[in-house]
């Protein structure tokens, strides 16, 4: 029996997702034994032509991490979509835009200007910018073009499954691979993680006060964090209640509040707006001034609540100036 | 304390003594008044009867000049403009209201001012001297400087219409008391009387004389009836009507008895020990001879 062919690809991402695969430790040997990895540019020497040479649907599963920002990324994911039977958006960036998605708060022009002109270390008197094509004696050279905005993978191509996290927790990866091999994947469109909040598996859950009320939100560096008590109850901006679990509440276990990398639950339409609602609701302040003072510990609400999901959010991007 | 000062036309002629006494009193009390340069007529009630926009434009030019000469800006968010004439005070205040509330009129006026490179941004605070003395300076400061208290002097304080109506900015609309309190601080005795804010006749005394005279006559009669030795005014037109027409008044109402009518600033000056000539008291038609400070 031929082993199913599997591919890995990365777009706009940090590489952490690739690390996560390796984080399977010895289990990765079982994976390699069970599947045939035919495309993984990060780890092995494959070329685009290798993929192009495949028949449509030849890849059983393709894991794609990262958001889509460049023409090259888009070409590649379209290509992989054709070749793969199942596409799994792997990690927060692919699922909902992730950290690269925060670039939607600024424009492409501003990004280029910043990089090629404005930074202090840049000397560019002729305002030279990279061009899509350039003629050299040897012929035409091309570069990928930056898109106006960052897209989540699902906004670029149809995606079958989402494996969330920044990066996806090893256990979720292992479960997903197991499901693929066993043929027990759920209905297409599913997120391959439990549909319940992080608090569910947080060791601090039992320390929550009956009435969760906070008079002042604080940032982690402003307080000595109690290592046992519920972080939200301590006034820290912990997005555990808003965020899908599956990580084993790793950040709270490390004494840091959850920042929401596993993203929204199925029944939530807009992660940021919902998280904002939950957080502001527990503020125990009546008058306008007290409310503003209490919320001063959330200096950057958009960045806080859409840290991993701006492209997938309803508002998607900042209005052009 | 420095303030811009808007005299208005009357204080340069019939109301000269008002200006003289006001400036003398302010100098003594250490209140600086700088006359607004190049000021124009406020528009008064008469212009309002012809063309409201132009009337308000007249007022607005003064307000704009005040902002400019008062150097309104960071550190000086507003400038006080002192208008002793009740009519000027009201017209300027009314123009402020109109500019604020009415976009259409305000827009026309702003455009016209702009043609003359002026602008008004709503940063002038209109003040009547009564307001200035009682609220900005404070009665205690005045009391401390009284050298000739008005002991035993019964004073009818007459506010007239326009400093309390239609805007009651610094005093009660029905029973104003700032001038009464001031008289008390000067050592005098204000009399309680019901006609404090009843109209003196305004410009009618000059136009439909018999109407104006009767209105003034009743005021003086009631003040006398309540035992007043002197009646104080805070407006050049009130003073003019009530004082200069007492002869024709006598002709029309034989029971009329003369009553001195002073600007409140004149009486203040006397209590502060200033010379009578500095206070324009020689300009009175009905002389005020009662000795003060004895």
């Amino acid at each position: 029996m031929t082993k199913p062919k599997v591919g890995f690809y990365w777009c706009a991402s940090c590489g952490g997702c690739e690390e996560a695969v390796v984080d399977l430790h010895e289990a990765i040997l079982d994976v390699v034994a069970a599947v045939d990895i035919v495309f993984w540019p990060c780890a092995m020497d494959f070329k685009r032509t290798d993929v192009e040479a495949m028949a449509d649907g030849e890849l059983a599963v393709c894991f794609i991490n990262g958001a889509v920002r460049t023409s090259e990324q888009f070409e590649m994911v379209e290509l992989l979509r054709r070749k793969a039977g199942v596409v799994i958006a792997f990690g927060a960036c692919a699922q909902s835009g992730g950290i690269p998605g925060l670039a939607n708060f600024t424009s492409k022009a501003a990004i280029l200007a910043n990089v090629y002109e404005d930074t202090r270390t840049t000397v560019n008197p002729h305002k030279t910018y990279p061009q899509a094509t350039v003629q050299v004696p040897e012929g035409t050279l091309t570069l990928p073009v930056l898109d106006e905005t960052v897209r989540a993978l699902g906004q670029a191509i149809p995606v079958d499954y989402y494996l969330p996290g920044c990066p996806p927790p090893a256990k979720l990866i292992a479960d997903a691979v197991g499901a693929i091999l066993a043929g027990t994947l759920p209905a297409p469109g599913s997120v391959l993680a439990p549909n319940v909040g992080v608090c569910h598996e947080c060791t601090r859950k039992e320390t929550k006060p009956e009435k969760m009320l906070v008079t002042q939100f604080k940032r982690p560096h402003q307080v000595l964090i109690d290592p046992a008590q519920c972080l939200l109850a301590q006034g820290l901006v912990c997005l555990g209640p808003d965020t899908r679990s599956g990580c084993g509440a790793a950040c709270p276990a490390g004494n840091m509040p959850c920042t929401g990398c596993l993203g929204a639950l199925d029944q939530v339409r807009d992660f940021g707006a919902k998280a904002l609602s939950g957080l502001a609701s527990v503020l125990d302040a009546g008058e306008d001034a007290a409310i503003d003072a209490g919320l001063a510990g959330v200096p950057d609400p958009a960045g806080t609540f859409y840290r991993y999901s701006l492209p997938a959010s309803e508002l998607f991007a900042k209005l052009p100036e | 304390m420095n303030h811009l000062y808007y005299p208005g036309c009357s204080l340069k002629s019939t109301g000269r003594a008002y200006e003289e006494s006001l400036l003398a009193v302010c100098a003594t009390l250490g209140v600086g008044l700088t006359e607004l340069q190049d000021w124009n007529c406020c528009g008064a009630t008469s212009y309002m009867a012809i063309d409201e926009v132009k009337a308000f434009a007249l007022a607005a030019r003064n307000l704009a000049l005040a902002e400019e000469q008062g150097k309104v800006g960071p550190g000086t968010p507003t400038v006080d403009l002192v208008a002793p004439c009740a009519a000027c005070y009201l017209v300027l205040a009314k123009a402020q209201h109109c500019l604020e509330e009415n976009k259409e009129v305000g827009g026309k006026i702003t455009a016209a001012l702009a043609a003359a490179q002026l602008q008004y941004t709503g940063r002038v605070v209109m003040r009547h001297p009564l307001d200035l003395f009682t609220n900005a300076l404070g009665l205690d400061a005045i009391k401390a400087q009284v050298t000739k208290p008005l002991t035993g002097l019964k004073v009818a304080c007459y506010y007239g219409c326009q400093i309390v109506r239609p805007y009651a900015t610094f005093d009660d609309q029905y029973h104003p008391m700032t001038m009464d309190h001031l008289v008390t601080a000067l050592g005098g005795t204000p009399v309680d009387w019901p006609l404090k804010t009843r109209c003196c006749g305004g410009s009618l005394t000059g136009t439909v004389q018999e109407v104006g005279l009767r209105m003034s006559y009743h005021l003086l009669k009631e003040a006398r009836k309540r035992g007043a030795d002197v009646l104080l005014t805070a407006c050049p037109l009130c003073q003019f009507n009530l004082e200069c027409y007492q002869d024709p008044m006598k002709a029309l109402f034989p029971d009329h008895e003369p009553l001195p009518v002073l600007y409140f600033t004149q009486l203040m000056g006397l209590a502060l020990g200033l010379e009578r000539a500095r206070l324009g008291l020689q300009r009175l038609f009905v002389p005020f001879r009662q000795p003060v400070g004895v």
């Binding site: - | 036309c9 002629s13 000021w39 124009n40 009843r198 136009t207």
Partner: protein, 197 residues
């Protein structure tokens, strides 16, 4: 009774837009809210001299009795004491309505001729227009010339006394006009005139 007059008013003789027009000039006044309580007349110190009480002027304006309202002495006798405005239970700014009626009367030339108040208003505004300030002596001279030259003689004693007491001068109060410099009043007049056209 000397003469019997017939006083029916036909609808054709009324001006249905008059109330709105006056309300417009007086800036949004709600004449229609008047409940004819007469508080304005009761509060008015001059109402005993008026041919119509202020309340009736409001009623006439509201009903479109334009000629009657504009040619009344009432509007010219108003001394602008604002008592009616302050007292009105419906907060109608009656003083401003009176101003509006005066403006309209002058525009329509319906004011009582030689009635001194109307003449004063015109002379006053003409002087201010020309000189930027008002000189009381000159104003009074013009006023009497235009209304009742003989009465001026009666007033001359008062004038002389004022002159002697230093309360009235022959000097004309004026500010520079037509300089074209910053703040020039003439420039403002011209701009307003242009806007009017």
């Amino acid at each position: 009774m000397d003469e019997i007059t017939r006083t029916v008013k036909y609808e054709a003789d009324t001006d249905p837009h008059f109330a709105e027009e006056i309300a417009g000039i007086a800036r949004g006044e709600t004449l229609r809210a008047c409940i004819q309580c007469g508080n304005c007349s009761g509060a008015c110190p001059v109402s005993p001299y008026m041919d119509y009480t202020p309340r009736r002027i409001i009623a006439m304006t509201r009903a479109g009795f334009k000629r009657e309202a504009l040619s009344s002495t009432t509007i010219w006798l108003c001394a602008s004491c604002y008592n009616c405005t302050v007292e009105c239970p419906k907060q109608i700014r009656i003083t401003d309505v009176m101003y509006a009626l005066k403006q309209k009367a002058i525009k329509e030339r319906l004011y009582p001729k030689r009635f001194p108040v109307a003449v004063l208003a015109r002379e006053f505004s003409a002087a201010v227009r020309q000189f930027g300030r008002n000189s009381e002596l000159w104003l009074i001279i013009y006023l009497y010339l235009k209304t009742n030259p003989f009465a001026m003689l009666k007033q001359s004693i008062l004038g002389l006394r004022l002159f002697l007491q230093g309360r009235m001068g022959l000097k004309r109060e004026r500010i520079p006009m037509g300089t074209g410099k910053k703040g020039d009043l003439q420039t403002i007049w011209n701009a307003l005139d242009r806007a009017d056209r």
